[in-house]
Symmetry: C2
Subunit: 306 residues, 2 copies
Amino acid sequence: MNSMKIVGTGKYIPDKKIDNDNLEKIYNLDKGYIKKVTGIETRYYVENETLDTIAINSVKDLIEKNSKIEIQKVGIIIATSTTINNVMPSLSFQIQKYFDIKNCMCLDVLAGCSAFINALDIAQKYLTYSDIDYALVIGAEVLSINNYINDKDKILFGDGAGCVLLENTGQEKEYFSLIESISQNNDILTCDKNNNLYMDGKGVYKFATTKTVENINKLIEKADENKENIKYIIPHQSNLKILEKISQKLDIKMYTNIRKYGNTFCASIPIALDELVTMNEIKEKDKIILLGYGGGLNLGSILMEV
Amino acid sequence: MNSMKIVGTGKYIPDKKIDNDNLEKIYNLDKGYIKKVTGIETRYYVENETLDTIAINSVKDLIEKNSKIEIQKVGIIIATSTTINNVMPSLSFQIQKYFDIKNCMCLDVLAGCSAFINALDIAQKYLTYSDIDYALVIGAEVLSINNYINDKDKILFGDGAGCVLLENTGQEKEYFSLIESISQNNDILTCDKNNNLYMDGKGVYKFATTKTVENINKLIEKADENKENIKYIIPHQSNLKILEKISQKLDIKMYTNIRKYGNTFCASIPIALDELVTMNEIKEKDKIILLGYGGGLNLGSILMEV
């Protein structure tokens, strides 16, 4: 059973554009190396902004794009980020406060880079099985600040925020999710609370190009759906080579924007979703698959009718 | 609709007992001051232990107490803590890894000191409305280490962990929840990711003795239940004066153990629940109310048939 529908999306990308030339000079890399290895051409860094402000800006964008939205009707706010600055009040509470939303439940979900999938799945449960009418789900990251990411890894990451507003329409829509945590080998991708990030590139590549494909194949089987009916896979944007490999193995069209924004962790799926919705590339009744994977290790996909 | 049932509980309290005499000397307080103001007589601090190990120890206690439990059947692990050490893999994933649980979804929830209520409510949704059969929900805190809590506030806090295992029985049981976030005034209780804690005692007292009572009265009305049928309120253990005030206003029996453990934030409700279950003070078919409140500000209660 599912009666959740996407009402609107929003995103916020900071102004400060960082291109590869600059980073290749700083980190003493050959010209063209970054694009060749990661597919990334630019990424954006915050300046005088915080996790809270960029998340709030993405919600402002959602409201601006969707003039009929009554943000006061939101009954649950779920935020996701790996670059949290406060444990309490956590990000979701700061969003509630900024927009002065009453009668609302707030929580943040930690589940690695793919926490947005968990958050959306929780929102679906509350919308379909409680008296809540609207849910706001946010992914935001400020990876460029307040962190000790290895220099070599800095070329991969960007800052940004994205959000989606969902409604309980009371009408049945296709929805299936498959979230699997695989912690046995989880030291290949870790991040402590000071944002000391460690990544075993080869290990992550292997995980991300095999387990994701198995997960989506199981999801499609669970949904008794045909690949041909899926308009887009909207994946976590980790690395263009990983994404091309997944898309090739599954033979389903995939949307990528990593060349513009880099890897924005929890923000990557809602930013991509917002771009497709804004370009009118996905419309009501289209079927899409959202795919998350990353630290935890965590892995999850959602097949949903828009 | 609800088909969730408590199967077992567990807790872990570290060995290092800290009594008031010691703290009153350190912080230059009159003898008897701490007990008079807070109701706390002792609290326990970790030694050479981490958030992960004390949470794992609480699950070991659950397994030891309930010989029939097959922990491998757990399909969702939800952990809560304000004293997180890793953003990814977060606590729930470390628990999955330790017990080598396959086919399981892991996530951590941040929602202040009352996140355990949110986590239990999410578990209820997954057990009742998905194919997951068992859920493990944990609250754990290591407030004595890795923090910069004001000396004056140190007298209040203790370390510990508690957990509950829940089953989807397929049989209807009474369950109602009411979770409300009230962020407008949320600077009265804050904690950044380095555990710099700030608390406005008077503001928290006012919030905790008024909004909680309103929340529980609304919950009882929503459930169309009689106060007389509630065997215990099992509250977050923040301060004995707050708890006595809430109990007096509501005229419902309340379980307190703050004199032994101090305020253990996210761990306080599952520790109290474990004590009552272990003492056989709550049994199958009893009706209880769990009450959480704290930073966010967040507030939530659950009325459930055991």
